[in-house]
Symmetry: C2
Amino acid sequence: MAALSRAAAAAADASDPLASYRDRFVHSDARIYLDGNSLGRLPIATRDRLTALTAEWGERLVGGWPEWIDAPTRTGDLIAQVIGAGPGEVLVCDSTTVNLFKLVGAALDARGGGARGGAGGGRGTGGALVTDRGNFPTDRYVLEGIAAQRGLDLRLFDGEPDAATLPCGHGDVVVLSQVGYRSGALADLPALQAAARERGATLIWDLSHAAGVVPVDLREAGAELAVGCTYKYLNAGPGAPAYLYVAAGLHGELRSPIWGWFGQRDQFAMERDYDPEPDIRRYLAGTPPILGLAAVEEGVRLTAQAGIAALRAKSIRLTELLIGLHDAWLAPLGFELASPRVAQRRGSHVSLRHQRAWQITRALIERCDVVPDFRGPDSIRLGVAPLYTRHVDVWDALDRLRDLVERGEHEAVDATPGRVT
Amino acid sequence: MAALSRAAAAAADASDPLASYRDRFVHSDARIYLDGNSLGRLPIATRDRLTALTAEWGERLVGGWPEWIDAPTRTGDLIAQVIGAGPGEVLVCDSTTVNLFKLVGAALDARGGGARGGAGGGRGTGGALVTDRGNFPTDRYVLEGIAAQRGLDLRLFDGEPDAATLPCGHGDVVVLSQVGYRSGALADLPALQAAARERGATLIWDLSHAAGVVPVDLREAGAELAVGCTYKYLNAGPGAPAYLYVAAGLHGELRSPIWGWFGQRDQFAMERDYDPEPDIRRYLAGTPPILGLAAVEEGVRLTAQAGIAALRAKSIRLTELLIGLHDAWLAPLGFELASPRVAQRRGSHVSLRHQRAWQITRALIERCDVVPDFRGPDSIRLGVAPLYTRHVDVWDALDRLRDLVERGEHEAVDATPGRVT
């Protein structure tokens, strides 16, 4: 790691090959924003595209549809570029929750016979739903619901996902996040995928906290299924549509449990029985959200242009600086690093634990113009978004955080946690 | 009906109490738009709101969420005003397809015991899924899929839904559209609801082609469940989020089959098991689409301000004029009215059958600056949107249609139907 000085941080920014990307986002004030892991910034291109697309709706009306209708696959192909998928393997639609529901259902319906019962013998009919207790709530809830409805066991394991100990067997469906929302720990995707395959389990990845900042190579790892959101590092805006990935080899074999008219082959021959598209479009359900899709397209385009290798390299430099400053300034003040210290095991956000995490978070926002986020009971998450976070931002944010806690200013904040997003 | 003359049509516009609403929409050219039943026009307030909200994302970033997070219920309360529901009974979320999937699942899961097994005895455990063969494709597909997954019978009946003959019994789940997408026929909602109740079936309404143009009084009719889209007469834009209605008395009893973090009570206490909100929010799944929700809010606001009674009165005047002109001008040219002739049995679009419907539709758009839509094999749909369609628009559109067919100009169009939306 470079020497700890603000001048060194400024020098790192001056030589940053991605520096110009910062100017492609709206910055309305001097706030230091370290919550791009929750909601990314607004790209200028997105603002302009939304204006143009709204005008297009007004002008073209229903005549716009022939062009709009391909947005879920066109935008999916762009996402494919940043998660190591091929063209036609990614679809932008619905929310992460609904997409996960669809893929878990598809995997279960394909087990042991039926669509999945051809050569190779299917996936068995027994089995449980498996995830880690620390996985993101919606992932757990989706599994909990499906387990209750189908009378399946839900197996929650403790600790970070590990290939050697992944508790799954033949016919199980496992859901794992590549980067943990709380700890920022980066799972070993290829090793876990291989472990699941060896044990005969189907593994579904949640890439929400990973896509856009860590290398994801789904094809290379032989990954079969994945979902993710677009409003974090992909900068598509609050509640923008999510995506799903289904490896091309599974397109004929699996189908969504939600049968809808946009997944229907020859959709506008409306009299027919359901006969899903042969490709990724079979996972569409209702009418695609055109404004949201455009925001995804513009957001992801920036990430694809910058390139994951450069983004990852900068992300590591930024989190290394953050951890270095934590060690030097914050550890003596009662902070504890709650994210992996080894860069190769870490995503792009760093969690710090402190007994007064809630009060410190509020004081940082209200008094220091620094925006982190809080995850109960005692974590402050600091996310760096390599498209727009600078080294001096990390320096200044931690400098203000140190001052704040040294002076005890956070103690004036009501200690009762309020609503947090 | 008023005398058939363009002067009479112009006079009807001059005395139209809703005339000023036309100016609240973007009109980029002189096209006569008769496809608001498929995709409504862009309200000026929506255009401005989307610009402001995009800026708000850029400025407030994650700090916008405390305000945004209530959009699904706040916007739902506005929709409640135009469909006769109470506050807290309508939620804006997901697509119509996904919402229908949720409510069919909720109704089935509640049958005969479990959550629905308290006083009153539940809904029985047998039963089939029931709809009319002519219902909108996505409604049929959702039922077809659920029937396949749960091993239930799917019963498709022919003809328009009729209370006397509605083929359902104890424990069945029935899905009906209040206005048929093809014929424009308006179902007798209160009578059908009473028939379903008497027979012990659960009835789910699809209001997509009804909301905003015909009176819907869900509470008065004792309706339990409904879904609908917002991009037709509610003018919320291409693929805008849909809504669902669950009568307040069922909130504790039913739950969505898709368990997600936005439906969770005390959502940000993330460690807990799934414990859904006690109210309509339990039907939320993933993160709400904030831009789309704002477009719904602005669109519905116009409808609520104009008032359904006035909108319905004007809609009837417009469709009466349309049918009168059809009888006078088009019937002799081989057209046939495929919508109910009695206003009380008709929604706000009129279907005309013609052997050359596809060619006529294309020629109307390309040569006459009139936008209808085509539904295979032989229907031209002409929708009137009382917020912005004028009597002279109907007059001029049918005048051009008559001229076109009299001169045989449509015959130059390739007779092979292409992609239609």
